[in-house]
Amino acid sequence: MSETQKLLERQAGWQKGRAALTWSEKIRMAEAVRESVAQLRRARLLRLRSAPLKPSTTVLRKLENRK
């Protein structure tokens, strides 16, 4: 069995294990993931808001072509 096959089998086993959890355990996992994703989104929004707006390369090219 190749390393890739072993890796895929381990992953499949892990996923099956998660499917066997109780419904409330799965919901708690989803809740934790949701919070992490929300934090990442908030951080990304903050970064975007604080970064100065730059025109895209496409817009710059169009402007240069007009000259």
């Binding site: 996923q15 099956k16 998660r18 499917a19 959890l21 419904w23 409330s24 799965k26 919901i27 996992m29 989803a30 809740e31 993931v33 949701r34 919070e35 994703v37 929300a38």
Partner: protein, 169 residues
């Protein structure tokens, strides 16, 4: 989520909604592995389906108990909850035939796996197709059960296309 179950049961007892059933990703997780989802979707039947502002009494009931609206959802504990009045005969059937699960000691109505699959088939987005495959793989629903529901609800062609695309080995 227990808080959501308790509130929905209380809304039923108070007559604010006639019936409810959890659907979407949270209901899916009852049968499959956990999936990431931003909110909780709840199918609801209201006592007066003719009124224009169908969900106003629900929002008012929630607000009076400190659960505030957040975009198109209501924040209940950790979860934004979206109330969705049933939107077609399939969703109505899913709501009527939902099962009652015991969620940490609280009764919680959940849409059955076959109806979840059929609703996903009718939505037809990539993530919905992934949901159907997940439900089939979990053994919570069979191809025959989906085919029967699809035939009854005008989704036979969609089911044929789905099978040709994803299930023909």
């Amino acid at each position: 989520m227990k808080e959501v179950a308790e509130l929905l049961n209380a809304m039923c007892s108070a007559g604010v909604i006639r019936e409810y059933a959890l659907f979407g990703a949270i209901a899916q997780m009852r049968y499959t592995e956990p999936v990431a989802t931003p909110d909780t979707e709840v199918l609801v039947a209201v006592p007066d389906p003719q009124r224009l502002d169908l969900l106003k009494p629900s929002y008012e009931y929630c607000a009076a108990r400190g659960y505030q609206p957040e975009d198109e959802t209501v924040r209940i504990g950790a979860w934004p909850v979206q109330f969705v009045p049933f939107f077609n005969p399939l969703a109505e059937e899913a709501l009527e035939r939902a099962e009652i699960d015991n969620f940490e000691g609280v009764a919680f109505r959940v849409v059955r796996a076959d109806h979840l699959a059929a609703i996903a088939l009718s939505s037809g987005r990539a993530k919905d197709y992934a949901r159907i495959l997940g439900l089939l793989e979990s053994g919570s629903v069979t191809r025959e059960q989906i085919a029967r529901l699809a035939a009854r609800h005008g989704l036979a062609d969609a089911w044929t296309r789905f099978q040709a695309r994803f299930l023909n080995e």
